[in-house]
Symmetry: D2
Subunit: 337 residues, 4 copies
C-alpha cells in the first residue's frame, strides 16, 4: 500500500511512519515528490489493516494496491469455473437459465411452473421456501413444505432446484433438498451464513448486496471459497441508486468487469433489478450481450395473483419469448442457449 | 392506494381493475381526470400487495398511501419511548453517549477504555465480541471471552454493555452478558435475526442498513416491535452514496425526520459514518444539534494499534473533547448531557 | 395530483385544502380512507405547483399523477421520430453509430479518425472543439479551428458532424459548422442553453445529466421541443452512483424504459459511461440488445497519446471489432447496422 | 501518481511505461512488490493526464496522489478568507445568514421579506430574478425587474443582495445590481460561466453540484479563483442519493472536511437540501454545529402561495425561530451570530 504524507509532515512523523510500516512486517520505500513524500510499502498487505497507518500523525491518506480477494481471482486461476446444473451448466459456452416463481405458493402452481419453464428452455427451477420480506406483515413462505414441493418438481422435470437459505440454522435443511443454496442480497455480508454455506458440498448462488461495491462482492465470494466450497455463482441483481423508475439500477458493466476479474460464473437477475415485468426481457438480452453466463428469472402462472413480487414476474408466454430472444443474442455473441 | 391507469386504458381494463380491487378487500373509487382515470382504493392496504395491481393490463402505476409501519409510529404513540441504560437513558431530555472500542481486543485494554469513557461522561460501553468483517482474512473477534470482559467492565464501572449479535444462534449467549443487543447495518434486513431479538427482554440497538431507505429502516424496527420487544433504539450510521472523502455519508436530516415519525429513541454513530477520526467530533455535534437522543462513538486507547477500524477511533483525549463540546451543543438545544 | 392528509388533520384543515385546490383551478374529490383522508385533484396539473399544497397545515404529502412532459411523450405521438444523419439515421430500424475522438486535437488526427470510423461503419463523426474540463489547468479545445476541421472531415467522408455546444453565445458559431448540436451531461439543466438550441434548425443530441432522474431527462428534452425544435436525440452516458470500478454506472434499463415513454431516438455512450476501454464493447453490445437506436463512441488513432479521455477511447482496431460484434447483436434483435 | 502494473505485466510493458512516464516530464521510481510492480511518478502531476498512462498495455490502474486544486487549498493559504457582506461577513468568527424568497415575485413581497429577514438577524437578502426551472412550463422569474427590486431592498435595509446568474450573457447585468453572484448547483460545472464570474470583482457564491464529489467542488472553485477572483463562498445544498424522504441528502460531514481542505468560507443551504420546511431549522442547527460559516435560507411571507419552492420556505416566524436557535448553537461552538 501507499502512504501519502501531508505537505507539511515533519521529519519525525515520517520516521515514525517508516517504523510503523516495518512493525507491520512490510518494507517501506520513501519517494520524495515535488510537494509530498510518499511511502510505498512492499509485502503482502492482504493481512494488514491500512487503517492503522491512516491515523498516524502527518499522514494524508493510505491507498491499498492489492485487491483483497485471491482465490476468486482470475490471476490465480485463469480458466473459467464451470458448474454443472440440472439440464445444463453455468460458466461454459452454453448460457443457463434458472426460472420459477419468487415464492413457492402451492404444490400445483410450482409443478405447473416447473414444467412450463423446462419446456421453454430453463435448466433449473427457482422458488423461495423461506422469504425475506421487508414487511413483517407479509407472507413469509411455506418453509419445509415448500422445499418438498421443489424436490418433487426436480423429480418430475430434471431441473436443478435453487432456493434461498436465510440463516445458519436453515443450512442443513435446505442443503438436504436443494441443488444450489442461494444467498440473498440482504445477506451478502452475513458472514456467519457465508461461512456455513462455505462448508456445504453444493454450489452457492451469491447475490450482490444492493449497495455492495465490486471488491466487497468478490470478498463475499472469497469468504465462501476460503471455507473450501469452490462452486460459487455470482449474481448481479441491481444496486440502489437515486433512480426510481425501476426498483433498482441494473449496472450492466459489472458483468464484463467481473468476467475479467474472476473465473467464477456470473449471472444476472433482470426481474429483481427492474421490478417491472415490461423491462425484464430487454435487460435479460442486455445481460447476455454483455457476457453473462446465465440468468435467473421470475416466472409465475398468473402474475396478477402472485403473493410476492408479481410486478416483476413474467407469465409463461412472456418467459418463452424471453428465452427465444435471448437465444438469438447468445448466438450473436458466440454462445448457445 | 392509488391505481393510475394509462391514458389509453380500455373500459374493459378499468372494469377488470375495479373487480381486482374489490377481490383484495378494498373499496375502489373511480376518479375521471382530464387525461387519465385513477382508482383510489379505500381500506387497510397494509396487508395487501400493491404489486398485484401493478401488473394489471392498462395500469400505469400503483402508488401506496399509508406507511407500512404502525407500532413504531408516533401517530399511534405520541409520547417518546425512554429507555434507561447504564448510567443514564436514551429518548428523554438527557443525551446518552455509548462509547468504547470497535472490538474487544484484550481484557486490559477494555477495562482501561471502560474507565476512561465513564470518566468522560459515557453511560454505556460498546465493544464487539463477534466482528462482521468484509474480509475473510481479518481478525474476527474474541467471542465469548470478549463478552466476559465486557461484563467485568460493567461490574467495575456501572456502564451498560452494548454489543453486536450477528446470528440467531448467538442470541442467547449475547443476551446473557449484554444489556443491549446491537444489530449491525449489514443485518438490518436479516429478518430471522430481527425476529429472534424481538423475543428477548433486552433493548435492541438497530443500525440503519447502508442503503436502507426511511421506511425500510422503520419497518425493520417494526419487525422487532411486532415480536413483543418494545425497546428499540434506532441508530443512523451513514449511508452509501457516491461520496468518497468519507467512508459513508451521514445524512443528518434523517434524525429530525425520524423524531417526527417515531416515538423510539434515535442516536447517531459519527465514527462509522465518517471513517475519519478528524471528522467525528464535528459530526457528533451536528447530530446533537439536529435532535439526536444520543451517540455511539468508537474510542481506543491507542488508535494507531487498533486491530479494527483504527482510522475512525478517537483516543481518550479526543473523546473527552467530544463530550465537552457536545455538552455545550446539547444545552444550546435545551437538553443536558 | 393527490393530497394525502395527516391522520389527525382537522375538519378546518381539510376545508382549507379543498378551497386551495379550487383556487388553483383544479376540482377536488375527497376520499375518506380508513385512516386518512385523501383529496384527488382533477384538472391539468402540469401548470400547477404541487409544493403550494404540500405546505398546507395538516397535509402529509402531495403526490403528482401526470408526467410533466407532453410533447416528448409517446402517448401524444406513438410513432417513432426518425432523424436522418450523415450516412444513416437514428430512430428507425437501422442502428446508427457516431464515433470519433473526444477532442479535435489536430487536423491530421481528425481526418485520419474520420476515414477510419467511416470505413468501420459509422454514420457520423464526433469531436469536441470546446471541451468542458473539470480541471481549469487541462486542455480546453481548439475552438473554431476545431469546427473547421470537423467540417472538412464531413466534406471528405459524408459523415455528419456532432459536436458539443457549451454556452448560448457559442450556438450560432457551432450551428454554422455542425450537423448535430450536442448538449453535454453537465449542461442538461442549463435552461438558457436548452432554450437556445431549441430555436435552431438542427438536431440536438441531449446527454442525460449524471444525476438526472428519468422525468428530469425527459423534461430537459421537452424544454428543447417546446421551443419548436422537434429533433432531439436522447443519450444515456452513465449516472453517478457509489460504484467506483467504472467512472459512472451505465443503467441499461433506462433504454427500454425511454423507448416506451417517448418517441424520440435513444442512444448510448459506452465510452463515458465506463471510462474503461476494456469494457466499452461489452456495454455497447448490451445497449443494442436492450433497444438503443444508436451509439456514440470515442475512437482515437493512439489512445495512449490522447489529450483528453484516453482511458476510454478505442483505437481503430478496437472500434472495428465493436462494430462487427454490435452488428451481430443488432441482427439478433431484428435490426440492422 | 502511482502506476500499478498487472501481475503478469511483461518486462517490455514495464519498460514502455517507464519511457511514457519520462515523456510526460515525470520521474519514474520502480517498486518491486511481492505480487506486482508499481511505478511511482515524481513531478507536478497536476498538468498531466493520468488517463494517458491508464491505457498502457500491462497497466492495472493509475492512482493520482495530489489534489488538483491549489489556490483553493489551505495548504497554500492557511488563514481563512473572510468576505465582508452586507451587515456582516462570512468566514470569520461571526456566522452570517443570507435569507429571502426563492424567487422575486413582486416588489412588495420582496420589500416585506427584506425587512423581516433583516430584523430577524440576516446579513444579506437572497432572491432569484432568473430561475432555472426543471419544467419548461413553470414560472421563470422577473428578470431585470426583479434585480431592480433587489437593489431597492438593499437601499432600504443595508442587506447585501445575493442572486443567481444563469448564463455568461447575464453576468454584466447581474453584476450591476447584485453584491454576490450565485452559481447554482446545476451550473457548478458550466465552465464558461465559471470563467465569466471569475473575471468579475464581486464575491461568488458557488453551490455544490448535486452529484459533484469533494474534489470536483473544489476544482470548480479553483476555476473561478484561477481567473483572478479570490472571493468564492462554497455552499453545500444537498446531494442526490437514494433517499426520498427529503428532496436531497444533506451530507453534513462535508462542512468540516471543506473547512480543513480550504481557506474559503463554507455555508449551508438547509432549504434546498431538505425540500421540507419542517426539517430546515434542525438541519440549519446541525450545519452551524458542524462548523459552517453561514446559511442561506428560503423565507417567504406566505409559503402556501409561493410561486416556487414553497414546500421548503419558512414564514417569518419560522425564520425568527431558526435564527434564535442557531444563535445558541453558534455560541456553543464558540462563535457569534
Amino acid at each position: 500500500m501507499i502512504v501519502v504524507m501531508k505537505t507539511n509532515a515533519t521529519r519525525e512523523q515520517i520516521d515514525h511512519m517508516l517504523r510503523r510500516v516495518r512493525e507491520m512486517g512490510l518494507t517501506p520505500h520513501m519517494i520524495e515528490g515535488t510537494e509530498r513524500k510518499v511511502i510505498a510499502c512492499v509485502g503482502d498487505e492482504r493481512f494488514k489493516a491500512p487503517e492503522q497507518l491512516a491515523v498516524g500523525a502527518g499522514v494524508d491518506k493510505v491507498i491499498p494496491i492489492l485487491a483483497r480477494y485471491k482465490i476468486a481471482s482470475r490471476e490465480v486461476k485463469p480458466e473459467p469455473t464451470i458448474i454443472p446444473l440440472g439440464l445444463g451448466s453455468l460458466g461454459g459456452p452454453r448460457i443457463g437459465i434458472i426460472a420459477g416463481p419468487c415464492t413457492v405458493e402451492s404444490r400445483s402452481m410450482l409443478l405447473e411452473a416447473a414444467h412450463a419453464v423446462k419446456e421453454a428452455g430453463a435448466i433449473a427451477l427457482r422458488g423461495g421456501a423461506f422469504k425475506p420480506r421487508t414487511d413483517p406483515y407479509s407472507f413469509q413462505g411455506l418453509g419445509e413444505e415448500g422445499l418438498k414441493y421443489l424436490a418433487e418438481a426436480r423429480e418430475a422435470t430434471g431441473l436443478a432446484v435453487v432456493t434461498e437459505v436465510m440463516a445458519v440454522e436453515q443450512v442443513p435443511l435446505v442443503a438436504e433438498y436443494a441443488d444450489v443454496l442461494q444467498i440473498g442480497a440482504r445477506n451478502m455480508q452475513n458472514y456467519n451464513l457465508l461461512a456455513a454455506v462455505g462448508k456445504v458440498d453444493k454450489p452457492v448462488l451469491l447475490k450482490r448486496g444492493l449497495s455492495a461495491d465490486f471488491d466487497e462482492f468478490l470478498l463475499a465470494a472469497e469468504y465462501i471459497l476460503s471455507q473450501g466450497n469452490s462452486r460459487v455463482i455470482l449474481c448481479e441483481r441491481g444496486i440502489r441508486t437515486f433512480e426510481q423508475f425501476t426498483r433498482f439500477t441494473f449496472p450492466v458493466a459489472v458483468l464484463p468487469a467481473l468476467k475479467q476479474a474472476t473465473h467464477l460464473p456470473v449471472i444476472a437477475d433482470p426481474s429483481h433489478a427492474t421490478g417491472r415485468s415490461d423491462l425484464v426481457e430487454a435487460v435479460a438480452r442486455a445481460a447476455i450481450a454483455a457476457g453473462a453466463d446465465g440468468l435467473i428469472v421470475e416466472v409465475h402462472p398468473d402474475p396478477e395473483k402472485a403473493l410476492v413480487d408479481g410486478a416483476e414476474s413474467l407469465n409463461f408466454d412472456g418467459f418463452k419469448k424471453l428465452v427465444a430472444s435471448c437465444r438469438k443474442v447468445a448466438e450473436a455473441v458466440g454462445r448457445t442457449l
